[in-house]
Structure formats: structure tokens, C-alpha cells
């Protein structure tokens, strides 16, 4: 048993988690202000922004992957710009994966956060404004601390969703070992070459890790409800 675990390569897993970690961090920074804005505004632009944000959920990953590939490749304006100015390629490498993942997982960060912000007692936010606090300070000191379950859900779901990414990653990243061959792609290849033993092992590890992550989220949420009555 132990030799099995000693013989497999861990690189795809590390790559998956690294990708998910970086993506989650970037998305968190972008999404908190966006979700707050969406929860507080009644502007006519709101449905438009919400639709754009939700698009990655409904689009087939291959469509998303295709458009990102086209938009970021060396032949496109964006790709050329990044190559000339930063000397950075955006496709078939880790950077390209991060960009693609940010699009792919955006709604999974924004929507729980927006839902959390929307479910806050509005009187409580008003009490903060009346106390002289700006909207920004209110968001940071009053709103965010009171949506811990939604925060946890957003972060964990985004992380898990990114780890599970396959179609987009394959199109934009290819399958370059150590660079873009994430766990989901590695398992696919194992099945293709009929190395079912490895596929089993890798898949089992993925299931166990995913389950443990989810379990810890639900336990945390349970403790939060008891402590704060949220």
C-alpha cells in the first residue's frame, strides 16, 4: 500500500492546489467590493453586471476556454501587449491558467458574498452610517464580520471549483508537466492511456481531500451559528 503512495507523483496535486490558491486569493480581492456594490445598489446596470458575472456558470467550459485562448494568445492584441511590455506569455503556462480560472470561478466567489451581504439586516448597516461610519468602513467592520458563513462558503467553493476545473484548463494550458498538468488533466490522461490503477489512486486522493475540505467548512459554519446566533 505504502509503495503505491510513494511511487505516485505529487506534482499534479501541488499544481492544482497552487492554482486554486492563487485564483481564490485574487478573486477574493476583486469580488468583495463587487459583491458589496451589487448588494447595495439598485442601479439599472445591476442585472447586466449580474448576468456577466454568472455567465461562466452556464457556458460550456470549452467555449470559455476557446475564447480565453483566442483573447490571450500571442496573435491577439492583449497577448501581444503582455509579451512586448512584460515579456510574459499568457497561454500554455501557469499564468494563463490563473487568468482562465479567475473567469471560470468568478461567480462562485461573487454570488455567495453577494447573497451574504444582501441578507444582512439593513437597519444594522444604517445604524453604522448614523454612527458616522462611511460605507467602506461599514463594509469592513460591520458587514464582513457578520457574513462569516457566506465568506467561508465563497472561499471554499471557489477553491474546490478551481481544483475541479478540467475543460478550460486543458484548452488554455495544455498538459505540460510541472506547468499546466493539473490533477484533473493528469487523471484524464491516465484513463486515455488505460493506466487505470494510477487513475484510481489519483481520483481517490481527490475525493478524500475534497470531502475533508467540505466537512471542515460545515463544522466551522455550525460553530459560528452557535457562537454568534447567525
Amino acid at each position: 500500500m505504502i509503495e503505491i503512495f510513494q511511487s505516485i507523483e505529487y506534482e499534479p496535486f501541488l499544481l492544482s492546489f497552487k492554482l486554486a490558491g492563487v485564483t481564490t486569493l485574487i478573486l477574493f480581492i476583486i469580488s468583495v467590493p463587487l459583491a458589496w456594490y451589487l448588494s447595495q445598489t439598485s442601479s439599472r446596470v445591476k442585472p447586466l453586471i449580474e448576468s456577466l458575472t454568472a455567465l461562466p456558470i452556464v457556458l460550456p467550459p470549452s467555449v470559455l476556454g476557446f475564447y480565453i485562448l483566442v483573447a490571450l494568445s500571442q496573435n491577439s492584441p492583449i497577448g501581444l501587449f503582455f509579451e512586448d511590455v512584460f515579456g510574459v506569455k499568457l497561454v500554455f503556462n501557469f499564468t494563463g491558467l490563473v487568468v482562465a480560472s479567475c473567469f471560470y470561478s468568478l461567480p462562485f466567489m461573487v454570488q455567495p458574498l453577494q447573497g451574504g451581504f444582501e441578507s444582512i439586516n439593513k437597519n444594522m448597516l444604517e445604524a453604522s452610517y448614523i454612527s458616522g461610519k462611511s460605507k467602506l468602513e461599514t463594509m469592513i467592520k460591520v458587514a464582513l464580520p457578520n457574513i462569516k458563513p457566506a465568506l467561508m462558503t465563497a472561499i471554499i467553493v471557489t477553491f474546490a471549483h478551481t481544483v475541479g476545473e478540467f475543460g478550460v484548463v486543458l484548452m488554455v494550458g495544455g498538459s505540460i508537466p510541472g506547468e499546466t498538468k493539473v490533477a484533473s488533466v493528469a487523471i484524464y490522461e491516465m484513463v486515455e492511456i488505460m493506466d487505470y490503477k494510477s487513475a484510481h489512486i489519483y481520483s481517490a486522493i481527490m475525493v478524500i481531500i475534497s470531502f475533508l475540505v467540505l466537512l471542515s467548512v460545515y463544522i466551522f459554519n455550525g460553530r459560528q451559528s452557535k457562537k454568534f446566533g447567525i
Binding site: 439586516n121 437597519n123 444594522m124 444604517e126 445604524a127 453604522s128 452610517y129 448614523i130 454612527s131 458616522g132 461610519k133 462611511s134 467592520k141 460591520v142 464580520p145 457578520n146 457562537k227 454568534f228 446566533g229 447567525i230
Partner: protein, 284 residues
Amino acid sequence: MIKIDINKKLHGGHGEMDLDVNLEIKQGDFVALSGQSGSGKTTLLRILAGLEDSKGRVKIGDELWQDEKMMLPSQKRKIGFVFQDYALFPNMSVEQNLLFVKKDQALAKHLLDLTQLSELKDRLPNTLSGGQKQRVSLCRAMMNRPKLLLMDEPLSALDPAMRTKLQSEILALHKEFGTTTIMVSHDPSEIYRLASRVVVLNFGKIINDGLPKDVLLKTRGSQKFSFEGELLDIVKVDVINIAIVSIGQQLVEVVVSDNEVKNLKIGQSVSLSTKAFTPMIQGL
């Protein structure tokens, strides 16, 4: 002197309504705002707090809070607001709720002592009772020494004993800080105890404005008891009819004639009156 002259179109439960209020309030006054549900009381409070738009002018002393060209945001108005559902910050302790408004430890301690909350200062809001939460809400509203204190039915969710207790604390705070206060309330005894002036709103317009005694008393110097209540039931016992009426928190049984029974419907509001010849008053 607080000058209010505002106008706003409201969509209430009774259709469209024009909230049209022109009011002057003296510094330090305690004004009760009364009237049917949906008559615009909460909206008026929210307009004064800067939480809602309206047309018109609001001026506090020399400070212009609102006119045709500008509207000062809530953050810049020195007001205190006590919400009907307390609206405390669940992630902060009692003391932190107060200090969030202003880092004035001494004032916070003083307010907590006045409302007998000192022992609870490190507790989280979800461990407090309704009465305790409302006291915290009251203290928090006073922390930035507001020019105007607004209270939206602050005691309506509490039982009678707790109401009376909190009324005393509101009175004590008003005596000490002299803050101009506008309180929405439906409770006549509460209004009588706390307010020096009652303004009654109906469908967005002021229909009555004066001393609590004048506005609240249903009879004027006629030495008559007159109460409004709800007819709960009519029971026939032998040859007489007994009507059971609910008045305030109490039930009374009254004998009614067959004629009177014909005109009464169970569930309707009724008025009971009788001459008040030498009634017996006894302390409980």
C-alpha cells in the same frame, strides 16, 4: 429649534399617500409621534435621519440638513436612532457596540451604569434579552451626544413590566442629557409619561398636535369614564346578555340589553362609558 418642512409621495398599504409635514420643535423637547400604522411616522423619522429622500427643508438650529439643493448624509448628522428591532452589531460585545460609535470609554461606562448594563458589557448581543438589547441600543444612540434622538417604537416588542422599566431609563437619560427627542409610540400611558408634546399623523398629514393630556384624553372634563376596546364575546346567561370586552390589557364583563346586542358584532371596536361618580381608587 428644529424646523421641518418636508413632502414625499409614499406608496402605503392604502394606496398612494402624500407625506406632508411642517413642524417646529424646541430644543430639548420630548415629542411623541403617534398615528395609525402606515401614516408615515417611520418614514418621517428616516427622512430626519437622512436614510430616505424627500423634498423640502430640514434645519437644526443653524445647521441645514436638507434643502432644495443639498442633502447632508446620515454620517454627518449628529443623530441617534433607536430601531424597533434594536439593530445591534452581533459581532461586537455590548461595550464594543457603544465604543464603535465613539471611543469615549468614560461616556460608555456612564451610560451602561445608568441603564444597569455594566455587568453585561462583555456579552454578545445574541445572549441578551429583548429589554437588555433595547437598553444597549439606547445607550449606543447616545454615544455621539446627538442633537436629535429618534426612536421608532422602541418598546413595542417588550412586555408591560419591562416597558415601564425602560420608560424610566429613557426619562432619566432625557433629564441628564436634555437631547431633543422624537419617539414613535402607540401607548398612551407611555406617551403621557415621557412626552411633553404629541403629534398625531394620519395618512401623512398632522391631524393633532398638543399636550399629551389634551390629545390623549378621550373625554374632556365631563367626569365620565370612556374606554375603547374590542368586543370579544357575547354570552347569554338566563335572561341577560353579558358582553366580554378587552380594554388595554384587561377583560371586563358588562351587561348589555337585547337591543344593544342587535347592533353589536363580535370582533368590532366598541366604546364603553359611564358616569364617573366617586369611583374607588386603590393602590395595588
